[in-house]
């Protein structure tokens, strides 16, 4: 699969590992793939992010991601669903942090010992990369580019997809911004 990755797509994967390293995370997540995509200049994805106003709101987007992480990976939609059961996620997070410190529910800990220095991709991040291949095939593109990784991220049901949607970044909006249409015809040119 990786032999089909364009230079940009490879840069995104390598950049995601670097993002994980900077964040002291022992795993490479979908969030790191997104941050790496945001750092990738001069690409179709960069153009789409700018067109959708993401670059101007990057700080807000990153804050949303951090907030979800702090709340144990619960998005607004998750919290709403749990509220329907009478479960107050905010209260749980507050109690846990009171006892175990701020960010306790974020899971990944800086003090976690890492064994070899090798950071593995999470299941979700791996499946996003696999999905990018299917999306490229579906669009009849011969290579997998950064744009396919981005489409894979937003088409998932994960935290990253939801947070992006909260900021107006959806599959349809991205497809229009990157390929100029929804019929997929423009993709053949690439």
């Amino acid at each position: 699969m990786f032999e089909r990755f364009t230079k940009d797509a490879r840069a995104v994967v390598i950049g995601a590992t670097a993002c994980a390293e900077r964040a002291d995370s022992s795993t490479v997540t979908e969030e790191h793939l997104l941050l790496s995509l945001l750092d990738l200049g001069g690409s179709r994805t960069d153009f789409a992010f700018t067109a959708l106003g993401v670059m101007d709101r990057r700080a807000a987007l990153e804050a949303s991601l951090a907030d979800v992480r702090r709340r144990g990976g619960m998005t607004k939609a998750d919290e709403a669903a749990l509220a329907g059961l009478g479960i107050d996620v905010g209260a749980i997070v507050a109690r846990v942090e009171e006892t175990h410190g701020a960010g306790a529910l974020a899971g990944d800990r800086k003090d976690r010992r890492w064994w070899s220095g090798h950071r593995s991709f999470t299941r979700e991040a791996k499946s996003a990369l696999e999905k990018s291949l299917r999306i490229a095939l579906g669009r009849r593109d011969r290579t997998i580019g950064a744009e396919h990784i981005l489409l894979a991220l937003v088409s998932g049901r994960g935290v990253v997809a939801e947070v992006l949607a909260e900021h107006g970044v959806t599959y349809g909006a991205l497809e229009r911004a990157m390929f100029g249409g929804t019929d997929g015809g423009a993709a053949r040119a690439g």
Binding site: K76, A80, E166
Partner: protein, 69 residues
Amino acid sequence: MTEATELAERAGDRDPRVGLRAVAALRRLLEQLEAVQVRSARNQGWSWQEIAAELGVSRQAVHKKHGRL
């Protein structure tokens, strides 16, 4: 945001989507809570055996899952 609002509005009715979503979210929250508690117990010197007994699972299971914490 719209999805969250929509879910909140439908939380009272019998839409399975809301209930299933809540279960999935709860499962993920549970995993995080378990990790926090296991880490805390280990920091306080609990053995894997003691932690496993409280969680109602085998020592091997808890060690395999949280051994790297």
